[in-house]
Symmetry: C2
Subunit: 150 residues, 2 copies
């Protein structure tokens, strides 16, 4: 009877491992989706700052508040198990050996986007340049170190 239970346990292993893999890919897709949505709103703000689309204080504020909230979301997608994913990812593997630095970058991003959201709403977009620039540099700092450039 004990042997039968052990056999049943072994038979279950591939199923569990398969489920685990699926779950791991969900984490990758989730964090990529969170960055996609954050980037979408960030780029629209950038286009306003750079004058490529008309500046609208209310729209800018709405996007800045969204980005501020969104910045806290991707972190939970960086589960160590996702290192084994076969999904395309631009994450450099060395991030996993510098996780503390990565987490610090994410915290700095949360801080910078919160500042931008609190300042957003100003009539003159030029007054928002410093806060926008700080948040943009925060994105770039992390991308330069932990994201493949291609």
């Amino acid at each position: 009877m004990k042997k039968l239970i052990m056999c049943a346990g072994l038979l279950l292993l591939p199923m569990l491992s398969n489920a685990q893999e699926q779950r791991s890919d969900d984490y990758v897709e989730y964090r990529q989706a969170a960055f996609n949505v954050m980037g979408w709103h960030f780029k629209k703000m950038g286009a306003m700052i750079q004058g490529r689309i008309p500046y609208d204080a209310v729209e800018f504020k709405r996007r800045a508040v969204a980005v501020s909230m969104l910045s806290a979301l991707p972190s939970e997608g960086f589960l160590p198990e996702t290192q084994k994913t076969e999904l395309p990812t631009r994450l450099k593997p060395e991030m996993w050996y510098q996780k503390e630095r990565f987490d610090k970058y994410m915290q700095d991003l949360i801080q910078a986007t919160a500042e931008l959201a609190s300042q957003a709403g100003m009539e003159d977009k030029d007054d928002l340049r410093p806060a926008f620039g700080k948040a943009a540099r925060q994105c770039k700092t992390c991308h330069d170190r932990f994201r493949e450039s291609n």
Copy 2:
């Protein structure tokens, strides 16, 4: 000279159309990403409500607030031009003939998730069942009508 300018204009056309297509696909990817992130947090709340993972009032509140904000984001991805996308999408084409109803569903979702977020934080998760159920039904109503089931 005029002819040369016209020729140059014609040469530019495919590039512009390509850029337009790219942009249209960006909209599709954006709205799918927004739904992915919203679904991620909604499912975690569902798992707590159903007892599949331990209930944590603070975590539930954090996710409910995120979903409430996220619910306002996908709408801008439903650009009419995206009907021509070749990306895989589960959106039923008839949505485009019932856009008012779709917009109403999205507004109802914003309302239902705002109610859930305002109630979240309660010690007893059973007190959250009605608000969670209402938000979940709002998702389902729209999926049943406008999302392919496969």
